[in-house]
């Protein structure tokens, strides 16, 4: 049961994504009927699943939302800005309800009531018989559904809508006598066919139906389908239990039953209408509808049921697609179009650790291949043509394999962007600012772990943009800008990294104010000469906040430095550009994956080490660089804009004593995110390589100054230097900005982060 629950909630995530996609499209005035249909189906599926798990709050809310979407779909309501924004609010709340249901906590019902009222006011659906009680007991839910049942008789189009929606047919009058019908009882033979008309009217239909396990897993119930059919005319149901194994061999999760239904359709009910009933279970059941002339109905039914043995594993679409509609004139949502969208995204869920294991193994394969190649060249075997060709193939294949395996972990940033746009909406509401969040490059793929860990920094960033970036509406109008602010969130691949940018069209950074605050807080001294970008970067200092009032959104003074440290931890970099009056752009540059790192291979004191290139700025040869002694035992390197301390990497890691003289060695100029720089002495630079990261904590402990290990092509282990840690363990570094007093608030802010 908990497995089913889990998969329901996982599916909810997917469905919410579809819903959000649709809302975003709707917000951009894209009123494609299929978009609205997809949204409607998502909400409907959530409702169906929630019903199966008895999540009443979820059922009630999604039902109200479904009603509104149904009106939009039928054209009764134009999807204007008001509707869209209400739907956004509702979908946010729906996602909250799902989260609450997942964690088993109770949602804030007062908020739900307000949204529900709004939904009902907009929706054209007749007021529920028990108003305001949608989220309560199941009977009331059923009662609320009743109006739709009444709609049935109004015309073919409405009947059609009903067909798409088996849930509402829980009408009390119809349900009562059908309750026992779908029970897997000893039904057996097909009973006599219902009465038929000989006036050439609607023809009797025989429907063979068998459900796959997925049908039950997704919270659907054949009984509901049959009730929906019952609403379309005279229906008789017979269960065929011939496939039922003896009790001992019975697998509770497998569906063994086939139902034969005989439908004598009511006036105006077409084959399409009947197919519509099955729309939501398409692909997870097998059904066959054969229209039979009333007179020969019995033999035809026999043929039909014989030709369609229960085959739950086989998807159904072929049968209904082959049979053309008896009559045309369906509403905007054709079943064929919905079918294609349902089958286009075929995915499987795999546990992450299985993928990680595969990635590890492929990493080993690549290393093994490199070892083989190296030892073969040592043996002088590579000159052999055939061996060479085979080795080349192996190398290419293992390269492809590694690439493909890496993409398994990669996921589009869409889900993340949806979460952020929701946060932007909420932040805008709280701050009383009207805004629009535009997302670009949602399909850009990024390592799952990276995506997950981006949520928090992006949340900070988007809140900052809303709170500090965008001006108040009146100020915007004054500045000649549209009242509604625009925040753009984009993702793109750029030279082996992923760039995520968040830009607003707000007022830009008020540098005078930033500088004043930084001086007040003692982060800089009044006579420091700072460039514009230096001032912008003050925002990344811990404990910095320019907002005079601490607002609910941001302004706890931990925002941007948390962003920077989080991004650092992911091997990325943050930068900030601002144009007064035009807005601010924050750019995050991230590695594609956490499993591989681009590094400079160096040797120090006989050991091979890797320095991540993300921290590397420049390399120098010691005999050409301008090195000055500084005090008793320190040296500094002159670079174009100042002096940076020199640290011997071997000595810093305890491999050797600090060398007295520096001769014929290399210097790596490294920089951390706060702009502090250090020059590392290494004995030799061997080249730049992509290395697979192997954590040390699994079998050992974290080692100061070492980020991880990697295995080189020759099978030896090389340690990856943690440049940030290495620098922070060195004596305070002279910096152009914030050298003297900055250290004190820096430390204290680290000791006690956000309350």
């Amino acid at each position: 049961m908990s497995d089913l629950r889990d998969s329901f909630f996982q599916e909810c995530d997917d469905l919410m994504e579809v819903l959000n996609d649709g809302l975003t499209a709707l917000d951009e005035d894209d009123c494609d009927p299929e978009t609205i249909n997809a949204m409607f189906r998502s909400v409907h599926s959530i409702k169906g699943g929630a019903g199966a798990f008895g999540l009443d709050a979820l059922v009630g809310f999604s039902h109200a939302m479904e009603n509104l979407l149904d009106d939009v779909r039928s054209g009764a309501i134009r999807p204007n800005a008001q509707v869209t924004s209400l739907l956004f609010v509702a979908s946010d709340h729906l996602s909250d309800l799902i989260d609450h249901a997942r964690e088993g906590t109770t949602a804030d019902m007062s908020r739900a009531e307000a949204i529900l009222n709004d939904l009902r006011n907009l929706s054209t659906a007749p007021a529920p018989t028990v108003p305001g009680e949608l989220s309560a007991e199941e009977q009331e839910v059923a009662a609320a559904f009743q109006p739709l049942v009444l709609d049935l008789d109004l015309g073919p189009d409405l009947g059609d809508d009903l067909g798409d929606d088996p849930g509402p047919n829980l009408g009390t009058d119809l349900g009562a006598d059908l309750d026992s019908a779908p029970d897997p009882g000893p039904g057996g033979d097909l009973p006599d066919l219902g009465p038929f008309r000989d006036d050439g009217g609607p023809r009797s239909m025989t429907i063979t139906f068998s459900a796959s396990e997925d049908l039950f897993r997704t919270g659907n119930d054949p009984a509901l389908l049959f009730r929906a059919l019952k609403a379309l005319g005279e229906l008789s149901v017979a269960a065929d239990d011939s496939q039922l194994p003896p009790l001992a061999q019975l697998d509770a999760a497998t569906s063994y039953l086939t139902w034969r239904l005989q439908l004598d359709p009511a006036e105006g009910v077409t084959r399409d209408t009947v197919e519509g009933v099955f729309e939501f279970v398409d692909g997870i059941c097998t059904y066959d509808i054969s229209s039979t002339p009333p007179v020969v109905s019995e033999p035809a039914a026999a043929v039909s049921s014989g030709a369609q043995p229960p085959a739950p594993a086989q998807p159904a679409p072929a049968a209904p697609a082959a049979a053309p509609p008896v009559t045309g004139g369906r509403a905007s949502c054709g079943p064929s179009s919905s079918r294609t969208s349902a089958s286009s995204r075929s995915t499987i869920r795999v546990e992450l650790h299985k993928v990680d294991r595969l990635i590890n193994l492929v990493g080993e394969l690549v290393i093994g291949e490199a070892m083989l190649r190296q030892s073969m060249s040592e043996q002088g075997l590579t000159s052999h043509g055939e061996v060479d060709v085979a080795m080349g193939q192996l190398r290419q294949l293992s390269g492809f394999l590694q690439e493909s395996v890496m993409t398994i972990r990669a996921q589009p940033v869409r889900g993340l962007f949806h979460r952020i746009s929701r946060i932007a909406r909420e932040a805008g509401r709280e701050a009383g600012k009207s805004l629009k969040l535009v997302t670009v490059g949602e399909a850009t793929e990024l390592d799952k772990t990276v995506t997950e860990r981006l949520t928090e920094p992006l949340t900070h960033m988007v809140r900052n943009a809303v709170d500090h970036g965008l001006e108040r509406p009146e100020n915007r109008i004054e500045a000649g800008k549209p009242e509604r602010g625009t925040i753009t969130l984009s993702a793109a691949h750029r030279s082996g990294r992923v760039l995520i940018t968040l830009s607003d069209d707000g007022g830009g950074i008020d540098r005078v104010r930033v500088r004043r605050v930084a001086e007040e807080k003692g982060l800089i001294s009044p006579d420091d000469d700072l460039s514009d970008s230096d001032i912008d970067n003050l925002l990344f200092l811990p404990g910095f906040s320019t907002n005079a009032e601490v607002s609910k959104l941001s302004g706890r003074g931990v925002g941007m430095d948390v962003v920077r440290s989080e991004i650092n931890a992911l091997g990325g970099r943050v930068s900030l550009q601002s144009q007064p009056g035009e807005g601010t752009t924050v750019t995050i540059s991230l590695p594609l994956t956490l499993a591989v790192l681009e590094g400079m291979i160096v040797t120090v004191a006989g050991e091979t080490m890797v320095v991540p290139t993300s921290a590397l700025r420049e390399t120098f040869r010691t005999d050409e660089a301008a090195i000055h002694d500084f005090g008793a035992d320190a040296r500094v390197l002159a670079v174009h804009d100042g002096y940076v301390p020199i640290v011997d990497l071997g000595a810093a890691l305890g491999f050797r004593e600090e060398p007295d003289t520096i001769t014929r060695q290399s210097l790596l100029l490294i920089e951390n995110e706060t702009g502090e720089r250090t020059a590392l002495i290494v004995d030799a630079i061997r080249g730049q390589h992509e290395v697979v990261i192997k954590g040390l904590e699994q079998n050992y402990y974290q080692v100061p100054g070492i980020a991880a290990a990697t295995i080189l092509g020759d099978g030896n282990i090389a340690l990856i230097v943690d440049t940030d840690q290495l620098m922070s363990s060195q004596p305070p570094v002279t910096r152009a900005v914030a050298d003297k007093p900055a250290e004190v608030p820096f430390r204290s802010a680290h000791a006690c982060p956000a309350q």
């Binding site: 050991e607 079998n699 050992y700 099978g715 030896n716 282990i717 340690l719």
Partner: protein, 168 residues
């Protein structure tokens, strides 16, 4: 971790089978460190490898020789002789690394040579004699007499490097 840990508590599924078949028999791997005989329970041993060059770990205790690559897994190698207070091992290609799995960690134990795999009864284990030096005693669960020679049973849980023992 208790040094008086008895077999059933650390029994792996495979080991439970041997127990059912042979009462309280357990298998030990015996090896030599600094010319003395030692042993550990076989269920901790994953495999035995020849000595390979290790990568030096900065800020590590002296008995951590370095890191080795076992088919892609990076694991620390411990100089058992130094850990037991018997002096630093001067490694040669004839030295052996016993790959062990203890407390969810995989680590290598550098020893002189592996001698044998023996079946012993738990009741044959005798308490550690008082004469041994305190440093050695801390790592010994007890002793077995095997063919007139003394085999010291190592408590593998004690030889694992401890986090607090590392230089910060």
């Amino acid at each position: 971790m208790s040094s008086t840990m008895t077999e059933p508590q650390i029994a792996t599924p495979e080991h439970t089978a041997t127990e059912r078949a042979g009462d309280d028999l357990s298998e030990i791997v015996t090896f030599a460190v600094g010319k003395q005989g030692f042993c550990i329970e076989i269920e901790h041993v994953l495999e035995i490898r020849g000595w390979t060059k290790t990568t030096v770990l900065p800020h590590a205790p002296d008995y951590v020789v370095g890191l080795m690559n076992l088919r892609g897994t990076v694991l620390p190698v411990i100089d058992l002789s130094l850990r037991l207070g018997l002096g630093k091992t001067e490694t040669t290609p004839r030295h052996v690394i016993i790959i062990t799995h203890v407390q969810d960690r995989t680590l290598g134990l550098l020893v002189e040579a592996v001698s044998d795999i023996l079946s012993v009864r738990d009741c044959e284990m005798k308490p550690t004699p008082d004469v041994a030096s305190p440093q050695t005693r801390a790592f010994i669960r007890g002793v077995y007499s095997v063919a007139e020679s003394l085999v010291r049973a190592i408590d593998v849980h004690q030889v694992v490097p401890k986090a607090d023992g590392l230089a910060a």
